[in-house]
């Protein structure tokens, strides 16, 4: 009778041991990166390959390689979930065109800025609107995306002098512009550039606001943050940086 127990016990012991040894042997250093892949060209899903790609994704891969990680794992989620995911340790870093703000700084730590965006005014081609100054927006129907720097900018500088319509994403705002429900949209410059490539719209003016995008880590994770900053600085001073910009923004980069 005793042997009957010994055999399965032996099998279990072997399985457990090989499992443990297997783990010890290939202890890969994996950087888990959170992003929100609906913000081309910074991060998006390439319909041809089905892979999540973009400026941010390639940048974080370069950084991870410099720091010495073996692998980068990309986790896509809602933009609003990135900060909670950092807090809960579900991801190590978040890179998703995140503008560095004081509110966000209270919850996460940011790297040095790697990108600077301004606010562009997008109008329909041939609509005859000229914008040279904030005051030129007075009296117009202006679309913005809720919670973005564009929305805050218009609210502060135009306020009551124009009709401001808020949309959940810039895509709805763009549809409203094309169908003539609004006269102009105020959005981040990289987004505005994509609009002009795909629709009959143009950038009427750019307000220099200089929002800075940063890479976020869990609050207090200074060790990782220092490594990221070092790597980022090296990359930004290298030829790789220009290649990356050329690849995703062409020559018309900011």
């Amino acid at each position: 009778m005793r042997y009957r127990f010994l055999v399965p016990m032996f099998i279990v012991a072997v399985l457990v041991l090989t499992g443990v040894l297997g783990c010890v042997q290939k202890q890969e250093m994996v950087l888990v990166v959170g992003t929100s892949a609906d913000f081309p060209p910074f991060e998006y899903k390439d319909p041809q390959t089905g892979e999540i790609v973009g400026f941010d994704i390639e940048l974080i891969k370069l950084i991870a390689e410099k720091i010495g990680y073996d692998k980068v794992e990309i986790k896509d989620m809602d933009f609003d979930s990135l900060i909670p995911a950092l807090g809960a340790g579900q991801i190590d870093v978040a890179i998703a065109g995140i503008t560095i703000t004081d509110e966000r700084k209270q919850q996460v730590d940011f790297s040095i800025p790697y990108w600077s965006a301004d606010q562009a005014v997008v109008i329909r081609k041939g609509s005859g609107i000229t914008i040279n100054d904030v005051k030129d927006l007075y009296g117009l129907n202006i679309g913005v995306q809720t919670g973005t720097t564009g929305a805050i900018y218009v609210e502060e500088h135009v306020g009551e002098n124009a009709t401001i319509k808020e949309y959940p994403t810039y895509i709805e705002a763009l549809q409203a512009l094309i169908t003539g429900q609004i006269d102009a949209i105020v959005v981040d410059t990289p987004v505005a550039q994509r609009f002009t490539q795909q629709y009959d719209v143009e950038i009427a003016h750019v307000f220099k606001t200089g929002e800075q995008y940063g890479i976020a880590v869990k609050k207090g994770n200074t060790d990782l943050l220092n490594k990221i900053n070092n790597a980022l600085q090296q990359i930004m001073n290298s030829e790789d940086w220009n290649k990356l910009i050329e690849k995703y923004f062409g020559s018309s980069s900011s």
């Binding site: 892949a37 609906d38 913000f39 081309p40 998006y44 899903k45 390439d46 319909p47 041809q48 089905g50 986790k75 896509d76 989620m77 809602d78 609003d80 979930s81 909670p84 995911a85 807090g87 809960a88 340790g89 579900q90 895509i171 709805e172 763009l174 549809q175 994509r194 609009f195 490539q197 795909q198 629709y199």
Partner: protein
């Protein structure tokens, strides 16, 4: 940018598969728990009944997004124990649905005629035997239309799972929308896929309702 529809349909179908799996596992988990809650609420002792009522009301009062955040972000932060997004989504959606399903089943259980239960008890059946052989076979048939309705809600609520990183149908559509900037086309395609799933499941439920119909039992005949 021209859209290659053949290429675009593939990620949508991948997403549809995830949504379908998530909705079916969730509705089944919700059914198991919901049925138990319903039985306790109708036949349980005083303490058990209060626990069941408390569970049902607490869950019904909390938005799904909050349930997800608690399961996926708060619990790992407090205990260090974490599950993968899909499992978390099944549990979250299942828990939420169990509270609603418990009410569907409770109504159906109470719709079974009192006289039958008394008769069964008089014949010497135990309480459990009465539930198993007299009440549930009728209650499950009665609950089919309501249950079918609940499934359509669960299916569409799978789209909230992107909050914890489950890449389902709506998310796949969103990738395409943000890449091609064509919201009507891709959200329209996603809506059509949801519709096809709902209609198919509805057809299946209608078929089951007919197949297991008991002549004379009101409510058992169903058109989902």
């Amino acid at each position: 940018m021209t859209v290659n529809l053949g290429e675009a349909i593939r990620p949508l179908l991948d997403g549809a598969k995830v949504s379908l799996e998530l909705s079916i596992l969730s509705i089944l988990l919700g059914m198991a728990v919901g049925l138990l809650i319903a039985i306790i609420e109708v036949y349980g002792g005083k303490i058990l009944r209060y626990i069941a009522l408390g569970y049902e009301n607490a869950i019904r009062g909390v938005p799904l997004l909050v349930i997800y955040f608690i399961l996926y972000y708060s619990i790992p932060m407090m205990t260090g124990f974490s599950m993968d997004p899909f499992t978390t989504a099944v549990i979250g959606l299942g828990i939420r649905s169990s509270a609603y399903q418990s009410q569907i089943f409770r109504g159906a259980i109470q719709a079974v005629e009192e006289g039958q239960i008394e008769a069964a008890l008089a014949l010497g059946m135990s309480k459990w035997q009465v539930i198993r052989h007299i009440v549930l076979p009728q209650a499950l048939r009665i609950s089919l239309p309501g249950w079918m309705n609940e499934y359509t809600i669960v299916l569409k609520d799978t789209s909230i799972a992107i909050a914890i990183g489950v890449i389902e149908l709506t998310r796949q559509a969103r990738y395409l929308v943000s890449y091609y900037l064509r919201p009507f086309l891709f959200y329209g395609m996603a809506a059509f896929i949801y519709l096809v799933i709902v209609l198919s499941i509805g057809y299946l439920a209608g078929y089951l309702g007919k197949k297991y119909q008991i002549i004379g039992l009101g409510g058992g005949v169903t058109r989902a």
